[in-house]
Chain length 61, copies 6
Amino acid sequence: MPVVNVALWKGNTTDQRRQLVTELTDSVARIANCPEEAVTVIVTEVETDHWGKGGRLASEL
Amino acid sequence: MPVVNVALWKGNTTDQRRQLVTELTDSVARIANCPEEAVTVIVTEVETDHWGKGGRLASEL
Amino acid sequence: MPVVNVALWKGNTTDQRRQLVTELTDSVARIANCPEEAVTVIVTEVETDHWGKGGRLASEL
Amino acid sequence: MPVVNVALWKGNTTDQRRQLVTELTDSVARIANCPEEAVTVIVTEVETDHWGKGGRLASEL
Amino acid sequence: MPVVNVALWKGNTTDQRRQLVTELTDSVARIANCPEEAVTVIVTEVETDHWGKGGRLASEL
Amino acid sequence: MPVVNVALWKGNTTDQRRQLVTELTDSVARIANCPEEAVTVIVTEVETDHWGKGGRLASEL
């Protein structure tokens, strides 16, 4: 049942995404008392020139 | 007024997306009693190595 | 696998939400060639004074 | 920088949400190599009659 | 066409939301060269004990 | 704290995104009474053949 969306800057390796999926699924399933099978994790990688932080493009920080 | 976001695995054709937009707009407009013109549908296609299912990357299931 | 988010104005009955879930799941599963069991639909009902349309609060249109 | 949205069924305690925030922040910060301070976690609790699973309202499963 | 989602802590007045809708619609329509009528703004107010910042619940900062 | 997601059709320049980030951050920080540093803006550019408007693909309007 739980759906986890993670938005972060582009540039992560497949290993990093695999680790994110493994750890976030474990935490959410354990804490929310549901089977891991029910957990969806979507990793949205965003270009830094499409991300604003403190009023500036993250590509220009 | 309604905004529909559909996140699914990458690999759909334009025909499939056209059909999704047509059917989802029809259902939502009819059920929510609003004009079709008011319905927005956004199709987000996600790489399977950015999607976690049951604790594993969907690209490695 | 597919996750469908529907954001619309508050005020729908359980019957309307049931019908939304039934029809959207049927369309998405059929078009995306996946089992209905894999489809998640989240209905987000929004107060009209939390929704802007054409620069005005929907509660004040 | 990372923004984590967790959508799950309503009914979690503050302790559970605290634990979710603690663990998800730790994992994301460590894996994405960013300070914990930069991580935002939003927990969206959804009524089961606003959540569709396999074509049915979760409240009616 | 543009859809703007603003997630922020609960506690804003209708005036604040009206002002958000007015200003965000104006900026997006002008910058993206589309009519204001086409812009949707959804304001999602989140309880501080459903929001994590730096690994802690915002209600406990 | 506030997180602003802007979904719009692909085709905007870096200047347009910079201006969006600047103006939306200014408005949200001022109206929600928080430091600009706390505001995140994510610009999601969507292909017009992934966007439905009034039941049709925006690429075919």
